[in-house]
Symmetry: C2
Subunit: 294 residues, 2 copies
């Protein structure tokens, strides 16, 4: 990027995030009036397809992975997709463009979808929600950011809720624009070609004029993950609602008829560090924890 | 536009369609590899808010119009919104940009939402669908287009289904890109300002270089509306399923418990001219017709 700027040429990479979705050009040339304070994307089509199948058909992770591989959506080695590494690299690129500071993908907290089960999906359904692998970064306060990739419980209010199958989408919040979302095909040779050709046309229109101006090499300052606030959905076994309340105070309890030996709760908003401290009292009882997207 | 091109200057109007949504810049500089064959938008926030309220709260058109006026969403004279004129002008602009031929808004078939009732919404709910005012244009065959603004029944499969409240969205289908959607605030001073400032920045970046290159003054050839194909949802009274079937062949029948004196049906795909011919047999029985978006 620096060499391109020094030499007045262009290095464009629209297809790197969200396939055919024109999100990089939008960040670079349309949202120029805005101070962007959140980007949250469904940036990996393979895992979105898998979670969608798990949600609608109730199948296990392994079954749906084999199906995704048979359809050519997942590689023989699916690690980069299912562990969230692919989404992590993409949110690093988008965040760097949006905030004007360089976010190294190696610093992004990343969690994949391998632990998600049909039981988690059943709880999500009961709550009128769904589970998506979100790649998200946010500006919190003056100069402080967080970034992470993780499965999230998502309510129907979110425009990302109905992004199904192999589709990708990028939600952006700007201080002037408000909420915006860009939706489209995240992969496949044709959508990718659409983005690449648009880059070539843009380069031809801007010979000897550098246009990707908002990329900086100054590192983005990331908060410690323990400082990041959120709500937490927790499934527990062998404990009581009273024990949960004595650890977490008021919580939302969720029961599923088909899982009588366990229950789940959603905490109020708290720092992750606080959650980790409070959950210690239930260390022997916890089955799984999934973040809730607010 | 022609003067701007002749003089190597720019005339930009991002805020004219979809408020803060960067759709015009996307059509102009991102979807350059694509032959676009459909644009379908929710382009009027006022009517979208009204239909959303009618759908979720079951209120009458007049009630929700008063509420929208009280909230400042609808003007004292709401004609341009509720009769679809505003959405009509916007689809004319977007279509002209997308197809490279000039679409005069006066030639666009336009129907508003004043006839939509809570009963229609109840049928939509029963079908797992919703009713939205869509502004749509489509390329059908080599050089033939249609364009219209009308209320449509929309299924949950459509990414436009969950565009609620005053939000706008533009769905685009390109032959390379496939499906894409742009979502955001369609009105309000801040989102509009976001689009205007982005135009100013773009003009400053392109002094003496005309960048809006795909606008033509050659008129777009519109098909006759009678040739446009679709499915039709029809509510009827004082007739029988057999009569409907003898007029339309196989149809999908919808009954609502709360409306025992009537029923509705959805036709198979047919030309609008054919629909109009067949519906004559039920002329005395028809309560309302709403198109179905496929």
């Amino acid at each position: 990027m620096e060499i391109a700027r020094e030499r007045d040429i262009n290095f464009l990479f629209e297809a790197s995030c969200g396939g055919g979705i024109p999100i990089i050009r939008a960040l670079n040339s349309s949202l120029t009036a805005d101070e962007i304070d959140e980007i949250t994307g469904i940036l990996n089509g393979t895992t979105n397809y898998m979670l969608y199948k798990m949600s609608t058909e109730g199948c296990e992770f392994d079954t749906v992975l084999k199906e995704a591989q048979a359809k050519g959506y997942a590689e023989a080695d699916p690690t980069a997709d299912v562990e969230g590494y692919d989404a992590c690299r993409k949110i690093a690129i988008l965040s760097s463009l949006a905030y004007g500071y360089f976010l190294n993908y190696e610093n992004v907290y990343t969690e994949g979808i391998t632990r998600i089960t049909p039981e988690d999906m059943a709880y999500a359904r009961e709550l009128g929600m769904t589970i998506k692998l979100l790649a998200t970064s946010r500006k919190v306060g003056e100069d402080s950011f967080y970034a992470m990739v993780a499965p999230f419980l998502l309510s129907q209010k979110s425009p990302l809720y109905s992004v199904n199958d192999v589709f990708n989408a990028v939600f952006v919040h700007g201080n002037v624009l408000g909420d915006a979302m860009f939706y489209g095909s995240g992969a496949g040779k044709l959508p990718t070609a659409s983005a690449v050709v648009a880059d070539v046309v843009d380069e031809a229109k801007h010979l000897h004029r550098n246009i990707m101006t908002n990329w900086s090499s100054h590192p983005l300052k990331l908060m410690d993950m323990s400082e990041v606030e959120g709500r937490f959905f927790v499934r527990v076994k062998g404990t009581t609602v009273d024990c949960v309340k004595s650890a977490f105070g008021e919580v939302q309890i969720v029961n599923l008829k088909e899982l009588p030996d366990e229950f789940a709760f959603i905490t109020s908003t708290m720092r992750q560090g606080e959650y980790e401290e409070r959950i210690r009292a239930l260390a022997d009882n916890i089955l799984t924890m999934i973040r809730v997207k607010d």
